[in-house]
Subunit: 293 residues, 2 copies
Amino acid sequence: MKCVGCKGEAEIKILQPFCKECFKKHYLRRVKRLIQKFNMIEKKDKIVVAVSGGKDSLACAQALYSLGFEISVLHIDVGIKECWSPKAKEVTEKFCKEKNIPFYFASFEEFFDIDAKKFFEASRRPICATCGMLKRALFNKFARENNFNKIATGHCADDVAKYFFKSIVASTEESFFWLSKLKPITPSTHKKIVTRIRPILEMLEVENLAFSKFNNINVAGCVMCSYFQRKDKITEILRKIDEKFPDFKIKVVKMLEKINFESEKEIQECEICGEPTKNKICTICKIKKRIEK
Amino acid sequence: MKCVGCKGEAEIKILQPFCKECFKKHYLRRVKRLIQKFNMIEKKDKIVVAVSGGKDSLACAQALYSLGFEISVLHIDVGIKECWSPKAKEVTEKFCKEKNIPFYFASFEEFFDIDAKKFFEASRRPICATCGMLKRALFNKFARENNFNKIATGHCADDVAKYFFKSIVASTEESFFWLSKLKPITPSTHKKIVTRIRPILEMLEVENLAFSKFNNINVAGCVMCSYFQRKDKITEILRKIDEKFPDFKIKVVKMLEKINFESEKEIQECEICGEPTKNKICTICKIKKRIEK
């Protein structure tokens, strides 16, 4: 199998066969193109990359670093032992130290002044949804208070495709609202909301894994979220689609880039904590109140 | 198996088990709801239903008739023997005669003054795409010239879901443009374009088949398009999805109802025939010129 770049021996075949060096170049070229297409990053930007220590967010940080952007990294202890381990912090910190990237650390418990276990129990949503909500709120507040004007996340095509199918199945206003946000850039719509960028949104999970490996990055995987262990119905469908159209998930991302959904709720400030929310009281404060009772 | 309506013996189970009479009521209720939701039909409307003689378009005509709307029917001889037979005309004419519905007939060859075989050969598109283009043009011109202000077609959730996946795979501006048109109503955007309505867009093919059967309608199936014989990759994926989420296709329709796609080309009039087109010369005239050469 020959590399489509240099015609040398290929080491990997995801969509096309590549040798290690050509794959890295190809990966970076595509990330760079997406950044430029959406005017994601400007010179004066102060960017914080949210890094869990998994392959996707580390690939995102590595790509931005390799492309010469100045970044900082924020790592979060989510307070659930199935989803976070000291190893995740270790690999992220090591990654930053090696490259001289400023490393920040926060934990849900301290940041929000909550008991994570009680909070997750009191939330009526699935663990991953609650965790996602807390992460978004933390990223945003942390970035704003530390003078970052862009938050970069490691969302990739697999996340989008999966959420896309979930949204169709759920078929609710809420799910379509979120779908409309899953674009390479979500500009700030309120003075308290920091612009979000998703530089690797058109990359596949398997590409992120390869990119991490080829850059000799140690990654810490979250067992609950691992692609290779997922067994839900939507993942089964996506696997079937993968067999027929290996780049389908990337094309879903590209389609969503062109879509506008009707009706968006206006953003206001939570009456309790002042953070941006679509309701009078934000979900975090609602759950906190529920625990206090 | 009990009918979810009357609790009597169910005769069919598509999404839920129903007896014959309750299924018909349920079907009509859903069609009526869609018509009302999109304000599809107003009192003064003159509606022509495009009927191929297949289960979907006949179910559409039957539903509008059962709901008390005044309709006319237009049947087309598409000039390809694989896709049209005198039987298709026969069943459509019989359907109309029984119900006292005005029946109109047109053929591609006469209407466009073409040799169908040569035209399909000269077209660079697949047969079904060329046929679809000619149908749309004929419906529109026929309706306008005969004072109909609404064209109703038998497009259903299966068509939308299939086209939806095809559009993602194709990933072209053109395909996304068409996707944005696949809503229950496409209002006229030009004085020469007649508003299109799709009253059974949220119904499944299998539901249309059942509705036709339960109304004792003879249908003539197009062998090339038959759902049950399709073997392409997208159909295989849709079957897999069907297994997991039997109402997924309906939900795709509902999602597309909420979507707006960016960038639409402006409509102009063809320099040769004067019909509405997105280009200087419409595709039909382009192909005709190609044959003349």
